[in-house]
């Protein structure tokens, strides 16, 4: 029979665990909870991140997929290669995961990672990311699209051509109660003016079932997370990132987002040197119950362009950890 665990034992175990994480250069840049669920380094593949698509009928007819959920674009393994320098490469090795929109105002590209919960509790999503608008060319005409301004030698016109990126979950507990937790970085508003703020929706995302029931019908470029701009609320102080002046220089940013699936709440968001307390950010729940989604735990990331220029969200790596 062993002796009871003391506070000192717990502290030593914590130090030992951190020391072991720090001994691994790839993990030492992360702050995982007690159990690492996934650690996706995109230099070695897509690791289960795939294109989100809406649901289809029993015959596999993709015409039955909602218009706004059928063109979220396949994620790409990107070497972050640009016209001016060639291959930039990722933070870890050569390849990052790239989520790329079409050059169509309002188009959204979404990549999703599908898991389930073995237990309720704290869940943390961490990533190193960057975002870019596509550089201009004669063919894409980006330099004359909405948002393009004068180049002042510091702020590049393309920076105002990046709309927003979003990190979100799709969660359903064992009683069929389904909800999303969502954080969006809005770089510009719909008129391509800098807003540079974090936002959250106050309504749940419209679902294929709600469309089938005649409750919603969205167009191809509607904002599928929350279609009405009035349903997005800012949280905390605005935050500027290191876009690094031009669309071809890649600087990686740290993001850590923690939620609680027991309490069904947001906890906090850390992005580089800022920590946002999210405990008062509401989590809208669907009124109806869902079958076939027991213990669903999905993560998605999206890029949304507010002009006719492709927008890119790059992830070097993702770590999801839990306290189960």
């Amino acid at each position: 029979m062993g002796s009871p665990t003391t506070d000192a034992d717990t502290a030593i175990a914590g130090h030992l665990r951190r020391a072991m994480l720090d001994a691994d250069p790839a993990l030492s840049r992360y702050n995982p909870l007690s159990r690492i669920l996934v650690f996706d380094q995109f230099n070695s593949g897509t690791h289960g991140w795939t294109e989100l698509i809406g649901n289809h009928d029993g015959e596999g007819n993709l015409d039955t997929v909602d218009d706004h959920m059928r063109d979220f674009r396949p994620p790409q393994l990107s070497s972050c290669t640009f016209f001016d320098v060639g291959t930039h490469g990722a933070m870890t090795g050569t390849y990052a995961l790239k989520v790329a929109t079409r050059p169509v105002t309002g188009h959204t590209a979404v990549a999703i990672r599908r898991l389930t919960m073995a237990k309720k509790g704290r869940v943390q999503f961490e990533t190193y990311f960057t975002y870019k608008a596509e550089a201009a060319s004669e063919e894409n005409g980006a330099s004359t699209q909405a948002g393009a301004g004068e180049w002042d030698g510091n702020i590049h016109p393309s920076e105002q051509q990046f709309g927003a990126f979003t990190i979100a979950t799709d969660i359903c507990d064992d009683r069929g109660e389904r909800y999303h937790t969502v954080m969006r970085y809005q770089n510009t508003d719909l008129d391509n003016r800098f807003t540079r703020r974090w936002m959250y929706p106050v309504v749940p995302e419209p679902t294929p079932r709600e469309h089938l029931e005649g409750k919603v019908k969205l167009g191809p470029t509607d904002d599928f997370t929350a279609p009405n701009p009035q349903d997005w609320k800012p949280v905390g102080e605005s935050q500027s990132f290191c876009y690094n002046e031009v669309p071809t220089k890649v600087n990686w940013h740290y993001l850590r987002w923690q939620i609680d699936t027991e309490a069904r709440k947001n906890i906090e968001l850390q992005v580089n040197d800022r920590v946002y307390d999210l405990r008062d950010v509401p989590v809208p729940v669907y009124e109806e119950r869902y079958d076939s989604l027991d213990n669903l735990l999905n993560f998605y990331v999206s890029a949304r362009t507010h002009t006719g220029v492709r927008n890119f969200l790059f992830l070097d790596s993702v770590l999801v950890s839990v306290d189960w």
């Binding site: 059928r70 790409q76 070497s79 016209f83 060639g86 079409r102 596509e134 063919e139």
Partner: protein
């Protein structure tokens, strides 16, 4: 184990006239194969001419050294591509002013 990836570049898209698929990054792969499924065609003899294009930067494109493909009516055409560099796309054209096709376009990649 070798890496592989399949991407759906167009899904039930109705095409007419000239078109180009979205740029897709392929720098990690050694071999690629296109699959173009024509689900519906305006007429059984509606032709689509398909040309593979390559790019060093995702912005500027030229035709690859790869035979032009032609699909006719409904069905699936496929062709392989190698030594394609960093990006791939299709430049295509539906022949006939009043003709259209509804397609699924897959790009499959392997290292």
């Amino acid at each position: 184990m070798r890496q592989s990836q399949a991407a759906v570049l167009e899904r039930y898209t109705v095409l007419n006239g000239d078109f180009r698929t979205e740029p897709y990054e392929t720098g990690w792969a050694t071999e690629a194969r296109w699959f173009v499924r024509v689900l519906e065609a305006s007429t059984p003899d509606t032709k689509v001419v398909l040309t593979t294009q390559v790019s060093p930067d995702g912005l500027h494109w030229c035709d690859a050294e790869c035979p032009e493909q032609v699909s006719e009516g409904e069905g699936m055409v496929s062709w392989p591509v190698r030594e394609f560099g960093q990006w791939l796309r299709i430049r295509g054209s539906v022949e006939g002013a009043d003709r259209s096709v509804k397609v699924l376009i897959y790009l499959t990649l392997k290292d």
